[in-house]
């Protein structure tokens, strides 16, 4: 694994995430949110899970980010900025970050280098999905159907 690639992707992802969390204009925040997911997909490629990286690009950037942009366009008012910023959220986020970093540095078993692994093929993912994980697959199908119907009912206009 390439250290330079890791540093570049980490800087891109965290900078885009900070921009998405703190920008005032909604559209700019939504677009830098999409760039964050590009960075995370790049991390997945770096870690050897290419299929998940592509699924991430399709689902998160292609569907979720576009959905968020559409919702911003549909719920626009005259001023599209976000008024009000709660500063206690910053304190809590920094506290959680500090706590988790302490826990990471105190754990000995996570300071390991990457073992050499065989490449994870889509064939292997397909095999596992159809044998070990067939019930979660059916449940996720059911959940997606329920979410689809639910979302439609929520935004349907009532007659009369």
């Amino acid at each position: 694994m390439n250290t330079a690639a890791f540093i570049v992707i980490a800087i891109l992802t965290l900078a885009a995430a900070l921009a998405a969390a703190t920008l005032q204009k909604l559209m700019h925040a939504a677009l830098s949110f999409a760039v964050t997911f590009v960075g995370i997909a790049a991390f997945f490629f770096l870690l050897g899970a290419e299929f998940v990286g592509l699924v991430q690009v399709f689902v998160y950037i292609g569907a979720v980010a576009v959905l968020i942009v559409f919702t911003i366009l549909l719920t626009r008012r005259d001023v599209e900025k976000d008024r009000g910023f709660n500063w206690s959220g910053v304190v809590i986020a920094i506290a959680v970050f500090g706590g988790l970093i302490c826990a990471i540095f105190k754990t000995q078993s996570v300071s390991v280098a990457a073992p050499a692994i065989p490449a994870l093929t889509v064939k292997r993912i397909g095999e596992v999905l159809m044998t070990n994980y067939v019930w979660p697959l059916q449940c996720v199908g059911l959940l997606l159907t329920a979410a689809l119907i639910g979302a439609l009912i929520l935004v349907m206009e009532e007659k009369g």
């Binding site: 250290t3 998940v52 929520l154």
Partner: protein, 104 residues
Amino acid sequence: MTLTLQLFLIVSTALFCIGLLAALSRRHAIFILIGIEMMLAAANLNFIAFWRFSLDPHQPTGVMIAIFSIAIAAAEAAVGLALVISVYRHYRTTNVDELDQLKG
């Protein structure tokens, strides 16, 4: 400098805390959803990092968890945004501070 698991965990922790920041300190409903999606993505990164550095990578458990988590996050984003649109239609606002009708 070799890449250890610690570095990946630090990046995913930072991403999670930035998502937490967005979810806690913004007053617009869509920003809160953006924060929640970022937290889910950070957890996915965590799972894949642990899978990569594990001793038995022939079991793609972390990868499968991440795939299902992406599907569930997409479903939840769709329903959440439908809720935001529906609330906007009734109350003409997306500021969560103004939605306090159920407040005791």
